[in-house]
Protein backbone atom coordinates (compact mmCIF):
# COMPACT_ATOMS: atom_id res chain seq x y z
CA UNK A 1 0.00 0.00 0.00
CA UNK A 2 2.86 2.41 0.72
CA UNK A 3 4.99 3.82 -2.04
CA UNK A 4 7.96 1.79 -3.17
CA UNK A 5 11.06 3.87 -3.28
CA UNK A 6 14.15 2.57 -5.01
CA UNK A 7 17.63 3.48 -3.88
CA UNK A 8 19.74 4.70 -6.79
CA UNK A 9 23.03 2.81 -6.74
CA UNK A 10 25.93 5.12 -6.03
CA UNK A 11 29.25 3.79 -7.12
CA UNK A 12 31.71 5.72 -5.12
CA UNK A 13 33.43 5.95 -1.82
CA UNK A 14 31.04 3.94 0.26
CA UNK A 15 30.64 0.25 -0.30
CA UNK A 16 27.09 -1.08 -0.54
CA UNK A 17 27.28 -2.68 2.87
CA UNK A 18 28.63 0.48 4.41
CA UNK A 19 31.96 -0.69 5.71
CA UNK A 20 32.98 -0.87 9.31
CA UNK A 21 32.18 2.75 10.22
CA UNK A 22 28.67 2.76 8.94
CA UNK A 23 27.80 -0.63 10.32
CA UNK A 24 28.93 0.51 13.75
CA UNK A 25 26.84 3.65 13.43
CA UNK A 26 23.97 1.48 12.29
CA UNK A 27 24.41 -0.82 15.24
CA UNK A 28 24.28 2.05 17.72
CA UNK A 29 21.25 3.66 16.12
CA UNK A 30 19.44 0.35 15.86
CA UNK A 31 20.27 -0.50 19.46
CA UNK A 32 18.81 2.77 20.63
CA UNK A 33 15.73 2.40 18.47
CA UNK A 34 14.95 -1.17 19.34
CA UNK A 35 15.22 -0.62 23.06
CA UNK A 36 12.93 2.37 23.12
CA UNK A 37 9.99 1.47 20.94
CA UNK A 38 7.24 3.77 22.10
CA UNK A 39 3.89 2.29 21.18
CA UNK A 40 0.76 4.10 20.13
CA UNK A 41 -1.79 1.70 21.51
CA UNK A 42 -4.76 1.92 19.20
CA UNK A 43 -6.80 -0.05 21.71
CA UNK A 44 -10.03 -0.65 19.92
CA UNK A 45 -11.57 -3.57 21.78
CA UNK A 46 -10.73 -6.61 23.89
CA UNK A 47 -7.12 -6.86 22.80
CA UNK A 48 -6.64 -3.49 24.46
CA UNK A 49 -7.28 -5.16 27.79
CA UNK A 50 -4.61 -7.75 27.09
CA UNK A 51 -2.36 -4.91 26.02
CA UNK A 52 -2.96 -3.29 29.40
CA UNK A 53 -2.01 -6.62 30.98
CA UNK A 54 1.21 -6.55 28.98
CA UNK A 55 1.91 -3.08 30.32
CA UNK A 56 1.07 -4.08 33.89
CA UNK A 57 3.51 -5.60 36.29
CA UNK A 58 3.19 -9.30 35.53
CA UNK A 59 4.28 -9.18 31.91
CA UNK A 60 5.87 -5.79 32.06
CA UNK A 61 6.55 -4.23 28.70
CA UNK A 62 8.90 -1.82 30.42
CA UNK A 63 11.61 -4.46 30.18
CA UNK A 64 11.75 -3.68 26.48
CA UNK A 65 11.69 0.04 26.94
CA UNK A 66 8.18 0.11 25.57
CA UNK A 67 6.06 1.12 28.53
CA UNK A 68 5.88 4.73 27.38
CA UNK A 69 2.55 4.57 25.62
CA UNK A 70 2.14 7.80 23.73
CA UNK A 71 -1.29 8.44 22.39
CA UNK A 72 -0.09 11.14 20.11
CA UNK A 73 1.12 9.73 16.80
CA UNK A 74 3.81 12.36 16.49
CA UNK A 75 5.56 10.95 19.52
CA UNK A 76 5.16 7.23 18.89
CA UNK A 77 7.17 4.72 16.90
CA UNK A 78 4.92 1.70 16.85
CA UNK A 79 1.21 1.65 16.15
CA UNK A 80 -0.16 -1.38 17.91
CA UNK A 81 -3.62 -1.92 16.54
CA UNK A 82 -5.35 -3.95 19.20
CA UNK A 83 -8.89 -4.85 18.38
CA UNK A 84 -11.50 -4.82 15.68
CA UNK A 85 -11.25 -2.12 13.06
CA UNK A 86 -14.56 -0.98 11.68
CA UNK A 87 -14.93 1.08 8.53
CA UNK A 88 -16.03 4.07 10.53
CA UNK A 89 -12.85 3.86 12.59
CA UNK A 90 -10.64 3.09 9.60
CA UNK A 91 -10.28 6.72 8.70
CA UNK A 92 -8.99 7.58 12.16
CA UNK A 93 -6.57 4.67 12.02
CA UNK A 94 -5.20 5.76 8.64
CA UNK A 95 -4.84 9.36 9.75
CA UNK A 96 -2.93 8.28 12.83
CA UNK A 97 -0.61 6.22 10.66
CA UNK A 98 -0.07 9.15 8.30
CA UNK A 99 0.86 11.42 11.16
CA UNK A 100 3.48 9.13 12.61
CA UNK A 101 7.04 10.11 11.89
CA UNK A 102 9.47 7.62 10.43
CA UNK A 103 10.76 5.16 11.50
CA UNK A 104 7.36 3.73 12.20
CA UNK A 105 6.08 0.21 12.45
CA UNK A 106 2.64 -1.33 12.71
CA UNK A 107 1.74 -4.48 14.56
CA UNK A 108 -1.69 -6.00 14.08
CA UNK A 109 -2.54 -7.54 17.42
CA UNK A 110 -5.20 -10.16 17.47
CA UNK A 111 -7.32 -11.92 14.94
CA UNK A 112 -9.59 -8.95 14.31
CA UNK A 113 -6.79 -6.60 13.38
CA UNK A 114 -5.08 -9.24 11.29
CA UNK A 115 -8.03 -10.47 9.30
CA UNK A 116 -11.32 -9.33 10.71
CA UNK A 117 -11.30 -12.21 13.17
CA UNK A 118 -14.59 -13.83 14.00
CA UNK A 119 -16.52 -10.84 12.64
CA UNK A 120 -17.34 -11.48 9.01
CA UNK A 121 -19.98 -8.78 9.10
CA UNK A 122 -20.95 -5.61 7.33
CA UNK A 123 -19.12 -2.94 9.33
CA UNK A 124 -15.89 -4.76 10.09
CA UNK A 125 -12.78 -4.32 7.99
CA UNK A 126 -11.30 -7.71 7.29
CA UNK A 127 -7.86 -6.85 8.50
CA UNK A 128 -6.09 -3.55 8.91
CA UNK A 129 -3.68 -4.32 6.09
CA UNK A 130 -6.28 -3.01 3.68
CA UNK A 131 -5.37 0.48 4.79
CA UNK A 132 -2.03 0.43 6.60
CA UNK A 133 1.07 -1.67 5.93
CA UNK A 134 1.63 -4.17 8.70
CA UNK A 135 4.95 -5.44 9.96
CA UNK A 136 3.76 -8.19 12.26
CA UNK A 137 0.54 -10.03 12.81
CA UNK A 138 -0.10 -11.56 16.22
CA UNK A 139 -2.71 -14.30 16.04
CA UNK A 140 -4.96 -15.01 18.96
CA UNK A 141 -8.26 -13.86 20.29
CA UNK A 142 -6.91 -12.24 22.31
CA UNK A 143 -3.24 -13.17 22.03
CA UNK A 144 -1.61 -14.08 25.27
CA UNK A 145 0.60 -11.29 26.61
CA UNK A 146 3.61 -13.50 25.99
CA UNK A 147 2.72 -13.48 22.30
CA UNK A 148 2.67 -9.70 22.29
CA UNK A 149 6.08 -9.66 23.93
CA UNK A 150 7.31 -12.14 21.34
CA UNK A 151 6.17 -9.84 18.59
CA UNK A 152 8.01 -6.92 20.18
CA UNK A 153 11.13 -9.06 20.30
CA UNK A 154 10.64 -9.99 16.65
CA UNK A 155 10.28 -6.31 15.87
CA UNK A 156 13.52 -5.69 17.67
CA UNK A 157 15.22 -8.26 15.45
CA UNK A 158 13.76 -6.55 12.41
CA UNK A 159 15.08 -3.21 13.59
CA UNK A 160 18.54 -4.71 14.07
CA UNK A 161 18.70 -5.46 10.36
CA UNK A 162 17.87 -1.91 9.42
CA UNK A 163 20.37 0.50 7.84
CA UNK A 164 19.52 3.95 9.10
CA UNK A 165 22.93 5.41 8.38
CA UNK A 166 22.39 5.18 4.66
CA UNK A 167 19.34 7.29 4.98
CA UNK A 168 21.05 9.87 7.10
CA UNK A 169 24.31 10.14 5.22
CA UNK A 170 23.20 9.78 1.66
CA UNK A 171 19.98 11.70 2.05
CA UNK A 172 18.30 9.47 -0.46
CA UNK A 173 15.06 7.70 0.09
CA UNK A 174 16.42 4.38 1.25
CA UNK A 175 13.93 1.56 1.51
CA UNK A 176 13.21 1.71 5.22
CA UNK A 177 12.01 -1.32 7.11
CA UNK A 178 8.54 0.11 7.30
CA UNK A 179 7.25 -1.22 4.00
Amino acid sequence: MADRRVTPVHVGEFQEEGGVVLTSVDAVINWARKNSIWPLPLGLSCCAIEFMAVAASRFDMARFGAEVARFSPRQADLMLVAGTLTYKMGEACRRLYDQMAEPRWVIAMGACAASGGMFRSYPVMQGIDHIVPVDFYIPGCPPRPEAVLQSIMALQKKIEKDSPSRQILRRTAAPVATE
Binding site: I49, F71, E91, M118
Partner: protein, 409 residues
Protein backbone atom coordinates in the same frame (compact mmCIF):
# COMPACT_ATOMS: atom_id res chain seq x y z
CA UNK B 1 -22.47 -4.30 -5.21
CA UNK B 2 -23.16 -0.62 -4.76
CA UNK B 3 -20.40 1.93 -4.87
CA UNK B 4 -19.98 3.99 -1.72
CA UNK B 5 -21.61 7.40 -2.02
CA UNK B 6 -19.58 10.58 -1.92
CA UNK B 7 -20.20 12.37 1.32
CA UNK B 8 -18.22 14.17 3.99
CA UNK B 9 -16.26 12.02 6.32
CA UNK B 10 -17.83 11.12 9.67
CA UNK B 11 -14.91 12.70 11.47
CA UNK B 12 -15.40 15.97 9.66
CA UNK B 13 -19.10 16.16 10.20
CA UNK B 14 -20.04 19.67 10.98
CA UNK B 15 -21.31 20.31 14.49
CA UNK B 16 -23.07 23.61 14.27
CA UNK B 17 -22.14 26.27 16.73
CA UNK B 18 -24.92 27.07 19.14
CA UNK B 19 -24.20 30.79 19.02
CA UNK B 20 -22.41 32.34 16.08
CA UNK B 21 -19.18 34.26 16.66
CA UNK B 22 -19.27 33.47 20.33
CA UNK B 23 -15.58 32.71 20.53
CA UNK B 24 -16.25 29.18 21.54
CA UNK B 25 -13.93 26.48 20.40
CA UNK B 26 -14.62 22.95 19.37
CA UNK B 27 -12.48 20.25 20.84
CA UNK B 28 -12.60 16.83 19.34
CA UNK B 29 -12.00 14.14 21.96
CA UNK B 30 -11.33 10.75 20.44
CA UNK B 31 -11.91 8.28 18.92
CA UNK B 32 -8.32 7.50 19.79
CA UNK B 33 -7.83 9.01 23.20
CA UNK B 34 -6.29 7.65 26.36
CA UNK B 35 -9.20 8.61 28.55
CA UNK B 36 -12.23 7.75 26.53
CA UNK B 37 -12.13 4.10 27.55
CA UNK B 38 -12.32 2.79 24.07
CA UNK B 39 -13.32 4.26 20.77
CA UNK B 40 -15.65 7.01 21.81
CA UNK B 41 -15.63 10.37 20.12
CA UNK B 42 -17.04 13.41 21.85
CA UNK B 43 -17.16 16.81 20.22
CA UNK B 44 -16.99 19.38 22.98
CA UNK B 45 -17.97 22.97 22.49
CA UNK B 46 -15.97 24.96 24.97
CA UNK B 47 -16.29 28.41 26.42
CA UNK B 48 -12.84 28.76 27.87
CA UNK B 49 -12.44 25.75 30.13
CA UNK B 50 -16.12 25.06 30.58
CA UNK B 51 -17.99 22.64 28.41
CA UNK B 52 -21.03 24.24 26.87
CA UNK B 53 -22.18 21.39 24.67
CA UNK B 54 -21.09 17.81 24.28
CA UNK B 55 -22.03 15.58 21.42
CA UNK B 56 -20.94 11.98 21.62
CA UNK B 57 -20.35 10.07 18.43
CA UNK B 58 -20.40 6.30 18.81
CA UNK B 59 -20.41 3.37 16.46
CA UNK B 60 -16.67 3.12 15.96
CA UNK B 61 -16.79 -0.41 17.31
CA UNK B 62 -20.09 -1.51 15.84
CA UNK B 63 -19.45 -5.07 14.73
CA UNK B 64 -22.92 -6.20 13.77
CA UNK B 65 -23.34 -8.76 16.54
CA UNK B 66 -27.11 -8.81 16.40
CA UNK B 67 -27.01 -9.70 12.73
CA UNK B 68 -24.41 -12.35 13.45
CA UNK B 69 -26.68 -13.88 16.08
CA UNK B 70 -29.46 -14.23 13.53
CA UNK B 71 -27.13 -16.07 11.21
CA UNK B 72 -25.25 -18.27 13.60
CA UNK B 73 -27.45 -19.55 16.39
CA UNK B 74 -27.19 -19.72 20.13
CA UNK B 75 -24.15 -21.85 20.84
CA UNK B 76 -22.03 -20.27 18.13
CA UNK B 77 -23.02 -16.88 19.44
CA UNK B 78 -21.59 -17.42 22.94
CA UNK B 79 -18.02 -16.38 21.95
CA UNK B 80 -19.39 -13.16 20.49
CA UNK B 81 -20.83 -12.18 23.84
CA UNK B 82 -17.35 -12.47 25.31
CA UNK B 83 -16.37 -9.55 23.16
CA UNK B 84 -19.19 -7.33 24.25
CA UNK B 85 -18.37 -6.22 27.77
CA UNK B 86 -14.81 -7.34 27.55
CA UNK B 87 -13.99 -6.43 31.11
CA UNK B 88 -16.14 -9.28 32.43
CA UNK B 89 -16.67 -11.65 29.53
CA UNK B 90 -17.92 -14.48 31.72
CA UNK B 91 -20.85 -12.36 32.89
CA UNK B 92 -22.06 -11.76 29.35
CA UNK B 93 -21.80 -15.43 28.47
CA UNK B 94 -23.85 -16.33 31.50
CA UNK B 95 -26.46 -13.72 30.65
CA UNK B 96 -26.98 -14.93 27.10
CA UNK B 97 -27.06 -18.58 28.06
CA UNK B 98 -29.61 -17.89 30.75
CA UNK B 99 -31.73 -15.84 28.38
CA UNK B 100 -31.72 -18.71 25.88
CA UNK B 101 -32.62 -21.11 28.67
CA UNK B 102 -35.52 -18.95 29.77
CA UNK B 103 -36.77 -18.91 26.19
CA UNK B 104 -36.49 -22.66 25.96
CA UNK B 105 -38.01 -23.17 29.37
CA UNK B 106 -35.01 -24.92 30.88
CA UNK B 107 -34.32 -24.92 34.59
CA UNK B 108 -30.73 -25.52 35.53
CA UNK B 109 -29.58 -27.94 38.23
CA UNK B 110 -28.52 -26.17 41.44
CA UNK B 111 -24.82 -26.82 41.04
CA UNK B 112 -24.77 -25.12 37.67
CA UNK B 113 -26.53 -22.12 39.13
CA UNK B 114 -24.10 -21.88 42.03
CA UNK B 115 -21.06 -22.09 39.76
CA UNK B 116 -22.59 -19.44 37.52
CA UNK B 117 -23.02 -17.22 40.57
CA UNK B 118 -19.36 -17.65 41.48
CA UNK B 119 -18.29 -16.88 37.92
CA UNK B 120 -20.58 -13.88 37.61
CA UNK B 121 -19.26 -12.41 40.83
CA UNK B 122 -15.67 -13.04 39.81
CA UNK B 123 -16.50 -11.19 36.64
CA UNK B 124 -17.95 -8.33 38.65
CA UNK B 125 -14.81 -8.07 40.77
CA UNK B 126 -12.64 -8.18 37.67
CA UNK B 127 -14.64 -5.50 35.89
CA UNK B 128 -14.82 -3.16 38.84
CA UNK B 129 -11.11 -3.56 39.50
CA UNK B 130 -10.29 -2.48 35.99
CA UNK B 131 -12.90 0.25 36.09
CA UNK B 132 -11.41 1.63 39.28
CA UNK B 133 -7.88 1.18 38.03
CA UNK B 134 -8.57 3.06 34.81
CA UNK B 135 -10.55 5.66 36.75
CA UNK B 136 -7.65 6.25 39.10
CA UNK B 137 -5.17 6.32 36.24
CA UNK B 138 -7.19 8.92 34.37
CA UNK B 139 -7.49 11.14 37.41
CA UNK B 140 -3.79 10.71 38.04
CA UNK B 141 -3.25 7.93 40.57
CA UNK B 142 -1.25 5.51 38.48
CA UNK B 143 -0.27 3.08 41.24
CA UNK B 144 -3.80 1.89 41.82
CA UNK B 145 -3.97 0.71 38.21
CA UNK B 146 -1.04 -1.63 38.74
CA UNK B 147 -2.42 -2.99 42.01
CA UNK B 148 -5.75 -3.66 40.40
CA UNK B 149 -4.10 -5.53 37.60
CA UNK B 150 -2.26 -7.69 40.09
CA UNK B 151 -5.59 -8.84 41.50
CA UNK B 152 -7.00 -9.28 38.03
CA UNK B 153 -4.12 -11.52 37.07
CA UNK B 154 -5.12 -13.85 39.91
CA UNK B 155 -8.65 -13.92 38.56
CA UNK B 156 -7.27 -14.60 35.10
CA UNK B 157 -5.41 -17.57 36.55
CA UNK B 158 -8.66 -18.89 38.01
CA UNK B 159 -10.46 -18.45 34.73
CA UNK B 160 -7.69 -20.18 32.87
CA UNK B 161 -7.74 -23.21 35.12
CA UNK B 162 -11.51 -23.37 34.96
CA UNK B 163 -12.15 -22.70 31.31
CA UNK B 164 -8.87 -22.81 29.43
CA UNK B 165 -8.77 -19.14 28.50
CA UNK B 166 -7.65 -16.18 30.53
CA UNK B 167 -9.97 -13.69 29.23
CA UNK B 168 -12.51 -14.48 26.56
CA UNK B 169 -13.78 -17.62 28.14
CA UNK B 170 -17.04 -18.79 26.50
CA UNK B 171 -17.56 -21.00 29.48
CA UNK B 172 -21.28 -21.71 29.91
CA UNK B 173 -23.45 -23.44 27.36
CA UNK B 174 -27.16 -23.38 26.84
CA UNK B 175 -28.36 -25.86 29.40
CA UNK B 176 -25.34 -25.93 31.69
CA UNK B 177 -21.63 -25.42 31.85
CA UNK B 178 -18.96 -26.74 29.56
CA UNK B 179 -16.91 -28.27 32.34
CA UNK B 180 -16.97 -28.63 36.09
CA UNK B 181 -14.67 -26.95 38.57
CA UNK B 182 -11.27 -28.58 38.66
CA UNK B 183 -9.76 -30.10 41.79
CA UNK B 184 -8.79 -27.45 44.33
CA UNK B 185 -10.29 -24.59 42.37
CA UNK B 186 -13.00 -23.89 44.91
CA UNK B 187 -10.48 -23.70 47.76
CA UNK B 188 -8.19 -21.38 45.86
CA UNK B 189 -11.04 -19.05 44.93
CA UNK B 190 -12.33 -19.07 48.47
CA UNK B 191 -8.95 -18.07 49.82
CA UNK B 192 -8.74 -15.33 47.23
CA UNK B 193 -12.19 -14.05 48.14
CA UNK B 194 -11.39 -14.12 51.85
CA UNK B 195 -8.29 -12.02 51.44
CA UNK B 196 -9.71 -9.65 48.84
CA UNK B 197 -11.52 -7.11 51.06
CA UNK B 198 -8.36 -6.56 53.07
CA UNK B 199 -6.30 -6.07 49.91
CA UNK B 200 -8.86 -3.69 48.46
CA UNK B 201 -8.73 -1.72 51.69
CA UNK B 202 -4.98 -1.58 51.68
CA UNK B 203 -4.30 -0.97 48.02
CA UNK B 204 -7.26 1.03 46.82
CA UNK B 205 -9.18 2.56 49.67
CA UNK B 206 -6.23 3.71 51.72
CA UNK B 207 -4.81 5.40 48.65
CA UNK B 208 -7.98 6.96 47.35
CA UNK B 209 -11.05 7.14 49.52
CA UNK B 210 -9.86 9.80 51.94
CA UNK B 211 -7.30 11.29 49.66
CA UNK B 212 -7.72 15.07 49.54
CA UNK B 213 -6.99 15.28 45.83
CA UNK B 214 -9.33 12.43 44.98
CA UNK B 215 -12.15 13.93 47.00
CA UNK B 216 -11.67 17.39 45.54
CA UNK B 217 -11.67 16.05 42.02
CA UNK B 218 -14.68 13.84 42.38
CA UNK B 219 -17.09 15.24 44.92
CA UNK B 220 -19.75 17.35 43.32
CA UNK B 221 -18.57 16.38 39.86
CA UNK B 222 -20.94 14.74 37.42
CA UNK B 223 -23.93 14.81 39.74
CA UNK B 224 -26.91 12.92 38.39
CA UNK B 225 -30.16 13.46 40.26
CA UNK B 226 -32.42 10.52 40.87
CA UNK B 227 -35.17 11.40 38.43
CA UNK B 228 -32.71 12.12 35.65
CA UNK B 229 -31.01 8.79 36.23
CA UNK B 230 -34.31 6.94 35.97
CA UNK B 231 -35.44 8.94 32.95
CA UNK B 232 -32.25 8.24 31.04
CA UNK B 233 -32.40 4.54 31.83
CA UNK B 234 -29.16 4.30 33.76
CA UNK B 235 -28.51 1.03 35.51
CA UNK B 236 -25.93 -0.54 37.71
CA UNK B 237 -23.67 1.49 40.00
CA UNK B 238 -24.55 4.61 38.01
CA UNK B 239 -28.19 4.30 39.04
CA UNK B 240 -27.43 3.21 42.56
CA UNK B 241 -24.96 6.03 43.03
CA UNK B 242 -27.86 8.40 42.48
CA UNK B 243 -29.81 6.88 45.31
CA UNK B 244 -32.11 4.46 43.52
CA UNK B 245 -32.16 1.09 45.25
CA UNK B 246 -32.47 -1.15 42.26
CA UNK B 247 -30.28 -4.20 41.89
CA UNK B 248 -31.68 -7.08 39.89
CA UNK B 249 -30.00 -9.57 42.16
CA UNK B 250 -32.17 -8.34 45.01
CA UNK B 251 -35.31 -7.11 43.29
CA UNK B 252 -35.82 -9.74 40.60
CA UNK B 253 -33.44 -12.47 41.70
CA UNK B 254 -32.20 -15.30 39.57
CA UNK B 255 -29.79 -18.19 40.16
CA UNK B 256 -30.85 -18.34 43.78
CA UNK B 257 -29.39 -14.96 44.74
CA UNK B 258 -32.11 -14.62 47.35
CA UNK B 259 -30.43 -17.26 49.50
CA UNK B 260 -27.15 -15.35 49.72
CA UNK B 261 -26.63 -12.63 52.26
CA UNK B 262 -25.21 -9.48 50.79
CA UNK B 263 -25.79 -5.75 50.78
CA UNK B 264 -26.17 -3.46 47.85
CA UNK B 265 -24.34 -0.15 48.19
CA UNK B 266 -26.46 2.86 47.30
CA UNK B 267 -25.16 6.39 47.04
CA UNK B 268 -26.73 9.60 48.21
CA UNK B 269 -25.63 12.49 46.05
CA UNK B 270 -25.11 10.88 42.66
CA UNK B 271 -21.73 12.40 41.99
CA UNK B 272 -18.61 10.66 40.74
CA UNK B 273 -17.39 10.03 44.26
CA UNK B 274 -20.55 8.12 45.15
CA UNK B 275 -20.24 5.99 42.07
CA UNK B 276 -16.64 5.23 42.98
CA UNK B 277 -17.67 4.20 46.48
CA UNK B 278 -20.46 2.00 45.12
CA UNK B 279 -18.01 0.11 42.99
CA UNK B 280 -15.49 -0.41 45.74
CA UNK B 281 -18.16 -1.69 48.09
CA UNK B 282 -19.55 -3.93 45.40
CA UNK B 283 -16.19 -5.63 45.09
CA UNK B 284 -16.30 -6.51 48.76
CA UNK B 285 -19.90 -7.67 48.57
CA UNK B 286 -19.06 -9.87 45.61
CA UNK B 287 -16.30 -11.48 47.61
CA UNK B 288 -18.89 -12.19 50.29
CA UNK B 289 -21.24 -13.82 47.80
CA UNK B 290 -18.45 -15.96 46.38
CA UNK B 291 -17.55 -17.25 49.84
CA UNK B 292 -21.14 -18.19 50.57
CA UNK B 293 -21.71 -19.79 47.19
CA UNK B 294 -18.60 -21.92 47.51
CA UNK B 295 -19.47 -22.99 51.04
CA UNK B 296 -22.92 -24.10 50.04
CA UNK B 297 -21.94 -25.52 46.68
CA UNK B 298 -24.38 -28.30 45.97
CA UNK B 299 -23.22 -31.45 44.31
CA UNK B 300 -24.84 -32.91 41.27
CA UNK B 301 -24.85 -32.47 37.53
CA UNK B 302 -23.80 -29.26 35.88
CA UNK B 303 -26.14 -29.50 32.94
CA UNK B 304 -29.61 -30.58 31.99
CA UNK B 305 -29.62 -34.09 30.74
CA UNK B 306 -32.43 -34.16 28.25
CA UNK B 307 -30.20 -34.35 25.22
CA UNK B 308 -32.01 -31.62 23.33
CA UNK B 309 -29.89 -28.67 24.39
CA UNK B 310 -26.72 -29.85 26.05
CA UNK B 311 -24.24 -32.39 24.78
CA UNK B 312 -24.71 -35.82 26.37
CA UNK B 313 -21.81 -37.48 28.20
CA UNK B 314 -19.21 -38.94 25.89
CA UNK B 315 -19.39 -42.50 27.15
CA UNK B 316 -23.04 -42.66 26.21
CA UNK B 317 -22.41 -41.00 22.86
CA UNK B 318 -19.89 -43.64 21.95
CA UNK B 319 -22.04 -46.56 22.95
CA UNK B 320 -25.69 -45.68 22.47
CA UNK B 321 -27.60 -44.66 19.39
CA UNK B 322 -29.93 -42.12 20.95
CA UNK B 323 -27.17 -40.06 22.51
CA UNK B 324 -25.21 -40.22 19.29
CA UNK B 325 -28.12 -38.68 17.43
CA UNK B 326 -28.53 -36.02 20.10
CA UNK B 327 -24.83 -35.17 19.88
CA UNK B 328 -25.09 -34.91 16.11
CA UNK B 329 -28.13 -32.66 16.20
CA UNK B 330 -26.76 -30.39 18.87
CA UNK B 331 -23.39 -30.01 17.20
CA UNK B 332 -24.67 -29.42 13.70
CA UNK B 333 -27.75 -27.38 14.44
CA UNK B 334 -27.65 -26.34 18.04
CA UNK B 335 -30.36 -26.12 20.64
CA UNK B 336 -33.71 -25.16 19.19
CA UNK B 337 -35.76 -22.31 20.51
CA UNK B 338 -39.56 -22.49 20.55
CA UNK B 339 -41.76 -19.93 18.85
CA UNK B 340 -42.09 -17.08 21.31
CA UNK B 341 -40.19 -14.20 22.77
CA UNK B 342 -38.70 -13.22 26.07
CA UNK B 343 -36.84 -10.35 27.61
CA UNK B 344 -34.32 -11.39 30.20
CA UNK B 345 -31.87 -9.18 32.04
CA UNK B 346 -28.97 -9.75 34.38
CA UNK B 347 -27.24 -7.44 36.80
CA UNK B 348 -23.94 -7.13 35.00
CA UNK B 349 -21.08 -5.10 36.42
CA UNK B 350 -21.85 -2.26 34.03
CA UNK B 351 -25.58 -2.31 34.63
CA UNK B 352 -28.51 -4.25 33.37
CA UNK B 353 -27.65 -6.39 30.38
CA UNK B 354 -30.87 -7.43 28.73
CA UNK B 355 -31.61 -9.82 25.91
CA UNK B 356 -34.81 -9.68 23.90
CA UNK B 357 -34.87 -12.93 21.98
CA UNK B 358 -37.54 -13.89 19.49
CA UNK B 359 -37.48 -17.56 18.68
CA UNK B 360 -39.01 -19.07 15.58
CA UNK B 361 -38.73 -22.76 16.20
CA UNK B 362 -35.29 -23.18 14.68
CA UNK B 363 -31.85 -23.24 16.20
CA UNK B 364 -31.24 -19.63 15.20
CA UNK B 365 -32.95 -16.75 16.95
CA UNK B 366 -35.20 -14.74 14.67
CA UNK B 367 -34.08 -11.64 16.47
CA UNK B 368 -31.59 -11.31 19.27
CA UNK B 369 -31.48 -7.86 20.67
CA UNK B 370 -28.87 -6.97 23.27
CA UNK B 371 -29.85 -4.16 25.57
CA UNK B 372 -26.40 -3.02 26.49
CA UNK B 373 -26.06 -1.00 29.71
CA UNK B 374 -23.16 1.06 28.41
CA UNK B 375 -25.19 2.25 25.42
CA UNK B 376 -27.92 3.62 27.63
CA UNK B 377 -25.50 4.91 30.26
CA UNK B 378 -23.66 6.94 27.64
CA UNK B 379 -26.83 8.64 26.44
CA UNK B 380 -26.69 10.87 29.48
CA UNK B 381 -23.48 12.57 28.33
CA UNK B 382 -25.13 15.41 26.37
CA UNK B 383 -27.00 16.25 29.56
CA UNK B 384 -24.20 15.60 32.02
CA UNK B 385 -21.10 17.17 30.54
CA UNK B 386 -22.23 20.77 29.90
CA UNK B 387 -21.22 22.92 32.83
CA UNK B 388 -18.20 20.82 33.72
CA UNK B 389 -14.61 21.78 33.13
CA UNK B 390 -12.51 19.89 30.65
CA UNK B 391 -10.57 18.08 33.34
CA UNK B 392 -13.82 17.03 34.94
CA UNK B 393 -14.86 15.47 31.67
CA UNK B 394 -12.25 12.80 32.11
CA UNK B 395 -13.34 12.07 35.65
CA UNK B 396 -17.00 11.92 34.64
CA UNK B 397 -16.36 9.54 31.77
CA UNK B 398 -14.32 7.26 33.96
CA UNK B 399 -16.92 7.33 36.72
CA UNK B 400 -19.63 6.17 34.33
CA UNK B 401 -17.50 3.08 33.62
CA UNK B 402 -18.73 2.15 30.19
CA UNK B 403 -17.22 -0.15 27.64
CA UNK B 404 -17.45 0.58 23.94
CA UNK B 405 -17.56 -3.05 22.92
CA UNK B 406 -20.86 -3.32 24.72
CA UNK B 407 -22.12 0.08 23.70
CA UNK B 408 -21.61 -0.42 19.99
CA UNK B 409 -21.90 -4.18 19.87
Amino acid sequence: MSAPPEAPSPLARRVERSVEDSGRIFLNMGPSHPSTHGVLRIVLELDGETVVRAEPDIGYLHRGMEKIAETYGFTKFIPYTDRMDYLAPIANNIAVCTAAEVLMGIDLPPRAKAIRVVCAELGRISSHLLGLGAFAMDVGALTVFLYCFRERETIYNFMESLTGARFTVSYPRVGGLSRDMPEGWADAVRRFAEGLPARVDRDIERLLTRNRIWIDRLQGVGTIPREVAISYGLTGPNLRGSGVEWDLRKEMPYFGYEQYEFDVPVGTKGDAYDRYLCRVEEIKESARIIRQALERMPSGPISVGDGKTFLPPKEKVMTRMEELIHQFMIVTEGPKAPVGEIFWAHENPKGELGFYIVGDGTARPYRLRMRAPSFVNLSILPWLLPGAMISDTVAILASLDFVMGECDR
